[in-house]
C-alpha cells in the first residue's frame, strides 16, 4: 500500500487513504479524479474536475529510505524554463 500525492494547478497534498502501489497509471489517474472531486485532499476540492484532468500527468513511484511507498501524480516538466 502507498500514499498518493496529487499536484494540480499549483496545489499539492496527500490522500489520507493508502492505495495499491502496483495500481496501473491509468487507475491512479482515475482514482485521483475521484479523490479531488470528493474533496479527499484538503485544499484541493474541485467537484467539477473533468475526467481527463490528469490525462497528461506523470505517475512517479518512489520508495523512501525508510521503506515508505509513495505515488506522486504530477504535471510534466519538460523544460528548465
Amino acid at each position: 500500500m502507498a500514499v498518493l500525492n496529487i499536484t494540480y494547478q499549483g496545489n499539492s497534498g496527500d490522500y489520507d487513504l493508502e492505495i495499491d502501489y502496483a495500481a496501473s497509471d491509468a487507475d491512479i489517474r482515475r482514482i485521483a479524479v475521484e479523490v479531488v472531486r470528493s474533496g479527499g485532499i484538503r485544499g484541493l476540492h474541485l467537484a467539477n474536475l473533468p475526467d481527463n484532468a490528469f490525462a497528461n500527468y506523470v505517475v512517479d513511484r518512489l520508495r523512501a529510505p525508510g521503506g515508505e511507498e509513495r505515488i506522486y501524480l504530477r504535471p510534466k516538466v519538460p523544460f528548465g524554463a
Binding site: N5, T7, Q9, G10, N11, S12, G13, G43, N56, V58, D60, L62, A64, P65, R70, Y72, R74, P75, K76, V77, P78, F79, G80, A81
Partner: protein, 193 residues
C-alpha cells in the same frame, strides 16, 4: 574549492546561480543564448544585459553587484564538447530548457562520474522538480514546440524553485546529500533524501 557548473542560465539557472553566490564554490556558467528584453520578466538579468550572452551577463552581474568571480562559457553544450565543458567540476546543475540537451548532459555526466542535479519547471509555471540524475527521466512534451513560461507571472514559483535548487546544491557540497524536491505553489516537498 569546489566547482559547480550551471548548464543553462535562463529563468532557473540565472536565479539559482544568484542564490549560490555565497556557497564558497567556483561557479562555471554555460549558455549559448543572448538576453532579450522579454527575459527580464522572469530571469535574473538587468536592462544593461540585453543583447549580451546569458552566461557572460550572469558573470558580469555577479562580479559587478557582489564582487563574485565566475567563469562564463557562451557556447551550446553538445555531445562533441560536453566532456571539455564539465572538466574539473565537482557538480553539474541542469537548468536547460529542452530535453535533448538534458539527455546529452546526463550521458556526459554519467560517463565522467560527475554528480548531476536537474531542475525543471512545468510549462504552466505552477510546479517544479529538483531531482538527482540517478532518479531522473525527462518527461515528454505534450506537443512539439510547447511554449515555455516566459511571463513574469510565474516569477514567484521560479524563485521558489531556484532557491530550492540552491539549497539542494548547498546540502550536497556540505554533506554529500542528494535530496529531491517537488515545488508547488502550496510549498516544497522533499521526495527523496
Amino acid at each position: 574549492m569546489s566547482r559547480v557548473v550551471f548548464c543553462g542560465v535562463g529563468a532557473l539557472g540565472s536565479n539559482a546561480a544568484l542564490y549560490c553566490r555565497e556557497l564558497g564554490a567556483e561557479l562555471r556558467l554555460i549558455d549559448f543564448d543572448r538576453v532579450e528584453s522579454k527575459n527580464l520578466a522572469a530571469q535574473w538579468f538587468v536592462k544593461q544585459s540585453v543583447g549580451k550572452n546569458k552566461a557572460e551577463a550572469v558573470r558580469l552581474q555577479l562580479a559587478n553587484f557582489y564582487g563574485h568571480k565566475a567563469e562564463a562559457m557562451g557556447v551550446r553544450l553538445g555531445a562533441h564538447n560536453a566532456a571539455q565543458l564539465l572538466d574539473g567540476c565537482d557538480l553539474a546543475v541542469d537548468c536547460f530548457d529542452n530535453q535533448d540537451s538534458r539527455l546529452v548532459l546526463s550521458e556526459a555526466a554519467r560517463v565522467a562520474g560527475l554528480p548531476l542535479v536537474h531542475a525543471a519547471l512545468a510549462a504552466d509555471g505552477t510546479f517544479g522538480l529538483v531531482r538527482w540524475d540517478e532518479r531522473f527521466a525527462p518527461d515528454r512534451e505534450d506537443a512539439a514546440g510547447q511554449a515555455t513560461c516566459e511571463g513574469g507571472e510565474h516569477l514567484p514559483l521560479i524563485g521558489l524553485l531556484a532557491s530550492t535548487l540552491a539549497r539542494a546544491i548547498q546540502d550536497f557540497l556540505r554533506s554529500g546529500t542528494r535530496a529531491d524536491y517537488m515545488v508547488s505553489l502550496s510549498g516544497v516537498l522533499r521526495t527523496h533524501i
